[in-house]
Symmetry: C2
Subunit: 365 residues, 2 copies
């Protein structure tokens, strides 16, 4: 990417200069030809590619058949947030999907993985999911993570280049440096659909989110989620029914029905019961919140090693969330070796609608 | 409404001249100061007011308290479509909510009610719901109507005037002319909330849609629906999940949760089960339809006495529905004394999405 292109994007407001500690970087607001959204430039020239979107298949049989003529790897898809981790100068930084340096992830990464890999391979970018109940971004969390967050590496890239290291090379480096990684279930072909169906039902039972398929020779990647992950998402987010884009719910309902059809669960009463409860329990929780606090909101909690990073994160919340984020005056709060930050994202439409509805207001619809 | 106002609206495209048989009429596209949407002018001067929207309350206790200081009537709310019926010249016409003469309702009204009331009272406009499984507009139908449609009078108006006849006068005329009418459950006050809660639970159990409250002295009207009516709507319309406005579903989910809270059904597993089944069964039906017919659609069937009215209705469908309405070449079909019309409303977004999804296509979301 030449300087002219960068300057041009900066001038047109499609890129912005940002700073984090000593590091100056440029974040692109859109995807670029050949470069996914979230691509950044370190200093003035070193490009780090964004992490590309992965297409979703909903039917395992026809989906694999249609997209893979050869072998592909199946890895666990984790319910967390995506970061790209790299060392630049003496410091390790973690970039969010959108291309911001995340003060939370940057703060915690040295605890969550061994960064010695960057001593030998300063050219590497580690792509990972950070997941767990104490994260500041997403409501969901893998059930096996009981507290705080954990990190799971799923890809390696090179600075200055698009595309990923081949799977074998990634597995080798993960192994050599003892990196925590997403589970890899092996190599399959489209004809192994029965085996993969059995695998997804195991993942469904343990509450895992799903699978990512990575073409062994082809570059194509696809993702496929469990039926239960849709119910879990609805249960976690139905308190936000009017604040999330409506597709959040309709997409998950369709995925769940398509999943049930392929896996013989069409008449499964347990599934019906769980889906109904997912919607209604979240809405009851929202009503409780409305009546108790005069607003509807979702609470987040996360911990930092350095107070400065907690303050940076709070600053980011205030800048982007405005009045939609409530932070108590005593935050961040010292807690043992950590600085704990608790905040609430206020759900404005749910707050307004429930407050009117529960006090007997009427609506025209 | 003076001629100038009408001409002005016609010139600005906010009113249109229409014809039905010998009758010329003008339909307003918007509400007018003091006149609801659907207001029409017969010939060039005789105004017939639109039927006003009714605000919805979701909590019986606080809603009644807030909106009624005095007495109010409680009548059954029926799940059908709203018409205004009048005699003009020698003919009886039925206008839709939007102000069109409906060929279906106009065709069937003389069978559904005794129009002798217009011999004595040519100034009256009869406001009624037409409901039943064989109607061309709405998916829902009161469970006690097993075939065809029935008509239920709930209000009387005067041509040329806004507002309704007082309840006692309406009940008297309904009685005198033996008109079929919505059930009137009597007169209440806000303090009778326990009695009304018991009534709504009875209506819920029999599958009725809900209640309309009409202030006895005050003009204020409100409506309140059963919990089950929300589930029924979702069950009937989940096959249209992507084709209906998303508020269709989110509003009903919230209403159901608020209803469950007020009526002590928060932990009701049966309700959860029914809600889950409502979403999933409709989606399975949509998938069946997609795989069997290459499209998703909802079938309607209705009957006419006069072939000409069936043809008029088909013409209306073709004009307004375009390729979204499928009508077989042999329609309308003679069936005993009637002309039967069957057609299908094609659900374009469900058709596209399911066809891509079920054949293994992928989506970015």
């Amino acid at each position: 990417m030449d300087a002219w292109t960068i300057d041009d994007a900066l001038q047109r407001g499609r890129a912005e200069r940002l700073q984090f500690g000593p590091l100056n970087y440029i974040r692109f607001l859109d995807e670029r030809p050949g470069l996914p959204r979230g691509t950044v430039i370190l200093g003035d020239t070193l490009m780090v590619s964004g992490y590309p979107s992965i297409g979703r298949i909903q039917v395992l049989a026809s989906g694999l058949q249609r997209h893979y003529s050869g072998g592909f790897w199946a890895e666990e898809k984790m319910d967390g947030f995506n970061v790209r981790i790299l060392r630049h100068g003496d410091a390790v930084y973690a970039f969010s999907r959108g291309g911001f340096i995340c003060p939370f992830a940057t703060d915690r990464v040295p605890e969550l993985m061994n960064t010695a890999i960057f001593d030998d391979h300063p050219e590497l970018v580690v792509c990972a999911e950070i997941a767990g109940p104490e994260n500041p971004y997403v409501e969901g969390s893998p059930p096996r993570i009981k507290a705080d967050v954990e990190l799971f590496v799923f890809d390696l890239m090179h600075k200055g280049r698009e595309g990923f290291l081949p799977q074998e090379q990634k597995l080798d480096l993960v192994d050599r440096y003892g990196l925590p990684a997403t589970r890899c279930f092996g190599r399959f072909r489209a004809r192994d659909v029965d085996q993969l169906r059995a695998l997804i039902m195991e993942l469904d039972a343990e509450g895992a989110e799903g699978l990512v398929f990575k073409g062994a020779a082809e570059e194509r990647r696809t993702k496929y989620v469990t039926g239960r992950s849709n119910i879990t998402d609805i249960a976690l987010c139905s308190e936000q029914l009017l604040d999330l884009p409506p597709e959040y719910f309709s997409n998950r309902l369709i995925r769940l029905a398509v999943f049930a059809r392929e896996h013989g669960l069409r008449e499964d009463r347990e599934l019906h019961l769980e889906l109904g409860a997912a919607f209604l329990n979240g809405l009851h929780q929202a009503m409780d919140h409305s009546l108790d606090h005069g607003r509807v909101g979702h609470g987040f909690r996360c911990r930092f090693r350095a107070e400065q990073n907690a303050l940076r994160f709070m600053d980011h919340l205030k800048r982007t969330g405005g009045s939609r984020v409530q932070i108590a005056a005593d935050m961040p709060r010292r807690d043992g070796d950590y600085w704990v930050l608790e905040f609430e994202r206020v759900l404005e439409r749910m707050t307004g609608t429930l407050s009117n509805t529960l006090t007997g207001g009427f609506q025209y619809d």
